[in-house]
């Protein structure tokens, strides 16, 4: 009995020490494990100034402009986290799921004019899955709710 208890204690202590060590390591690494910076973090100066980094957020609706045609399209759009926005310029192919109001992660550098020049743009999608008719119904209900709220605010 006693030997087994000793082994059990050893095991538990070992695991606790390991967990504590892992915790400390991840505290130290902190947000360096994050794949991208948000527009707010960029505005707060947390993103590197002269280095490639990734900017992530939503493509601000109404901000997408395309010049040119086909594969050499030059696109400009705003990336927002609904608090701050960053302007992005990108030349190249945009992923299929890239769209206004959808998630995006752009890799590149901040230019001197405050515009982020991207060399790669990835679409980030959320965890929602539903058939088109459900999506349409949700959108309709959302629009009606917004209209109702707007109507209710009028005197």
């Amino acid at each position: 009995m006693k030997a087994r208890h000793k082994r059990f204690t050893f095991l538990v202590v070992g695991l606790v020490v390991l967990a504590a060590a892992a915790y400390l390591v991840f505290q130290a690494l902190g947000n360096n494990l994050s794949y991208f910076f948000s527009p707010t973090e960029v505005a707060e100066g947390k993103a590197p100034a002269n280095h490639v980094f990734r900017l992530g957020g939503l493509v601000e609706p109404g901000s997408l402009k395309r010049e040119g045609e086909g594969k050499t399209v030059l696109a400009t759009f705003m990336v927002t986290d609904n608090q701050r926005s960053v302007k992005v310029r990108y030349q190249g192919i945009l992923p299929d799921l890239f769209a206004e109001g959808q998630g995006v992660i752009a890799q590149g550098r901040m230019g001197p004019d405050g515009v982020f020049v991207a060399d790669e743009v990835l679409a980030k999608h959320d965890e929602n899955y539903m058939p088109p008719e459900v999506a349409a119904a949700l959108e309709k209900a959302h629009d009606e709710g917004v209209a109702e709220m707007a109507g209710g605010n009028k005197p």
């Binding site: 794949y35 991208f36 948000s38 990835l122 999608h125 965890e127 929602n128």
Partner: protein
């Protein structure tokens, strides 16, 4: 009191567990075949198109079950490793060895289907974000465990070394799971959670759950088959093996 302990530990003897494992294997295999048939049918003919990802999202019916299994199997292996270290039951270590290749397989499937899903949707086969990187680390842990034990000829030392590796690596499991919450990742958040419910249409969720149970049954069947092989190998010099029906011929 002592007779109750005896009953429980009876199945920690390879000789008594061997026939039980055979029965479990048969039942689990049958369940796996049925559930896979139903699940695959539902994946293609019952689950509707996704509003954003079209038919491409159907990969989820393999990707999520295999990812869940990759984590779950590792935790079960770590559990058996702990049991073996504490109670010195050899069968515990055999169970861990039996699960490893299947766990590695599930991890590979999760990574492979993830890449094939990411390319059309995200625009890339791979990124080094926290979720993908930690799942890749899990794959290396499985391979490392198998390789380590293959490299140690002494069975007891191999059991012990492997067990320690498993327990050290178990910290990776919560990291994989919470990565999408703790850090900014390209990989999206959980579609299914105990606390928040689900962000999938019911029929899509049901299909995914059936595939998950199918993969679970498959893993059990394969693990039982493998542990029986390990038992036969380790116990080959014993009388009870010599007297097995399949050996006598």
């Amino acid at each position: 009191m002592s007779s109750r302990i005896l009953n429980w530990f009876k199945f920690s003897s390879p000789a008594t567990f061997y026939p039980l494992a055979g029965k479990i294997q048969k039942v689990a295999a049958a369940i796996a075949v049925v559930l896979l048939a139903i699940g695959l049918y539902m994946s293609f003919f019952v689950a509707p198109t996704d509003y954003k990802q079209g038919e491409g999202y159907r990969i989820i019916f393999i990707h999520v079950p295999s990812a869940w299994m990759s984590m779950f199997i590792y935790v079960v292996m770590a559990f058996w490793a702990a049991m073996g270290l504490v109670f010195r039951t050899r069968l515990s270590f055999m169970m861990a060895r039996a699960l490893a290749p299947t766990g590695a397989l599930m991890t590979f499937i999760a990574l492979w289907t993830g890449a094939f899903w990411g390319k059309p949707m995200w625009g890339t086969w791979w990124v080094w974000d926290a979720r993908l990187t930690s799942e890749l680390i899990l794959f290396f842990l499985y391979i490392g465990y198998i390789a380590l034990q293959g490299a140690i000829p002494d069975v007891r030392r191999g059991d012990r070394a492997g067990a320690i590796l498993l327990l050290v690596g178990v910290v990776n499991i919560p990291i994989i799971y919470f990565s999408v919450k703790w850090w900014n990742t390209l990989h999206q958040g959980a579609s299914v959670s105990i606390t928040k419910g689900s962000s999938m249409s019911t029929i899509m969720l049901e299909t995914m759950l059936i595939m998950t149970f199918a993969f679970w049954a498959y893993a059990i069947a394969v693990a039982m088959a493998r542990v029986r092989l390990i038992i036969l190998e380790r116990e080959r010099e014993t009388r009870w093996v010599a007297e097995l029906a399949e050996v006598r011929g």
